[in-house]
């Protein structure tokens, strides 16, 4: 699972009002090279919750991202930033570990890169 997906996911348990962001418990991270696409990065940037994103990247062991959301203008010019953004967003994969609901502490295990988001009957 990439951080792109992590940034979109929220806990779906019944009664949880603030299920975002899910905390990450890391067991194994893998990196996979992907071709960079600047248009996609510019398109997705306004939708990213930066706080959750940079925190998640730090948990995964990547500390190069600024803590505060940068001004959207850097997307136009700063190639260095775009490369870092791209790396954290699309190339870091959480292979093994868990996602933890911030409100209830329920763990969603991640195996072979696939988070198991199935809920128990009493959580629907």
């Amino acid at each position: 699972m990439r951080l792109l997906t992590h940034n979109m996911l929220s806990s779906n348990i019944k009664g949880v009002t603030k299920g975002f962001p899910l905390k990450i418990e890391v067991e194994k991270v893998v990196e996979k090279q992907v071709e960079i696409n600047h248009d996609f990065l510019r398109n997705i940037f306004p939708k990213i919750d930066w706080k959750a994103f940079s925190d998640a990247a730090r948990t995964m062991g990547y500390v190069e991202l600024p803590e505060q959301a940068p001004d959207p203008s850097v997307l136009e010019s700063d190639l260095d930033f775009l490369t870092k953004f791209h790396h954290a967003l699309l190339e870091l994969h959480l292979e093994e570990g868990a996602l933890v609901c911030p409100e209830t502490g329920r763990k969603f295990p991640v195996n072979k890169g696939i988070p198991n988001m199935l809920l128990h009957e009493d959580e629907v």
């Binding site: 996911l9 248009d39 510019r42 398109n43 696939i114 199935l118 629907v124």
Partner: protein, 291 residues
């Protein structure tokens, strides 16, 4: 036994390792799935500016539809309830992210972040109650509600479905409308029993120009889209898709297959490059009774 997989077992059980392997080994299944996903992407009508979007693939299975999305240059997140199917997708090294989830429990995504959604042959599963806790209406409501929330304003969702009957189609569509979607059903090849395919084309947001339902593909070129109000009898008669039909029994005729059939088969084998004995006057001749 019925040929509808929906009537045989719940999806997470029906799509086991054996069934999942068919999706890599059967070129026929792959071809149909790819065609359906190409058509769904076409109906999604994303702006043609070359910018990759973030799409959702609901019921992504082995990732055949996801590969079509990748080929079109978009990023995607795939949901499926069957672990076996997702394992096949992992083996195929699909580009998108995979999530093990039940769409009937809601999608669990942040609001307004997804640029479009497709789903191939999945949503009709929601009409089944496979567990005592399942209530199809609540599950449809949870699914469409969460889908509506996670889509960006003006985004589209194209869901290819195999409703079992008119009532199921109405049920699915009515819950989509209740969640706030605008749109309707596009039927491709409505007069063909085999090629007939139904797509729910839904637009997030109030009815506008962009929510006009495109017309379906049909041989005679007439507009084939129909909205939720269409409950006419004509629909009932053509609603039988090939999945309802009992499988063809092999025709065995008393006289046997005949010389013509044998010659045709031998010709076929020759074209494949197999070693085939030459055609003579003895070919496919009947044996004497005393033999």
């Amino acid at each position: 036994m019925s040929s509808r997989p929906e009537l045989q077992a719940p999806p997470e059980i029906f799509y086991d390792d054996v069934e999942a392997r068919k999706y890599t080994s059967s070129s026929r299944i792959a071809e149909i799935q790819t065609k359906l996903s190409e058509r769904a992407l076409e109906l999604l009508a994303l702006p043609d500016d070359g910018v990759p979007r973030l799409l959702l693939d609901i019921g992504c299975g082995s990732g055949l539809s996801g590969e079509t999305i990748t080929e079109n240059g978009h990023q995607w997140i795939g949901f499926d309830i069957s672990e076996s199917m997702l394992n096949v997708a992992l083996q195929n090294e699909v580009e998108g992210d995979l999530l093990l989830g039940d769409m009937g429990q809601g999608l669990g995504l942040r609001p307004g972040v997804i640029d479009g959604a497709i789903s191939i042959s999945a949503v009709q599963w929601l009409c089944n109650a496979d567990k005592s806790s399942h209530e199809p209406r609540l599950r449809l409501k949870a699914f469409f509600g969460s889908l509506y929330r996670c889509l960006a304003r003006g985004a589209r969702a194209v869901l290819q479905v195999y409703p079992e009957n008119l009532a199921q189609r109405e049920l699915i569509l009515s819950y989509a409308m209740r969640s706030g979607f605008a749109g309707g059903v596009v039927v491709d090849y409505p007069h063909s029993t085999k090629k007939r395919k139904e797509y729910l084309v839904l637009t997030c947001g109030p009815p506008s120009l962009s929510s006009v339902v495109p017309s379906g593909k049909g041989e005679d070129g007439e507009s084939c889209s129909d909205d939720e109000s269409s409950g006419d009898e004509e629909n009932q008669t053509v609603c039988i898709s090939d999945r309802h039909r009992p499988q063809k029994k092999q025709k065995v005729n008393k006289k046997g297959k005949g010389r013509e059939w044998v010659l045709r088969k031998k010709d076929q084998m020759r074209r494949k490059g197999n070693v085939v004995p030459p055609d003579t006057k003895y070919t496919a001749r009947k044996r004497k009774a005393r033999f």
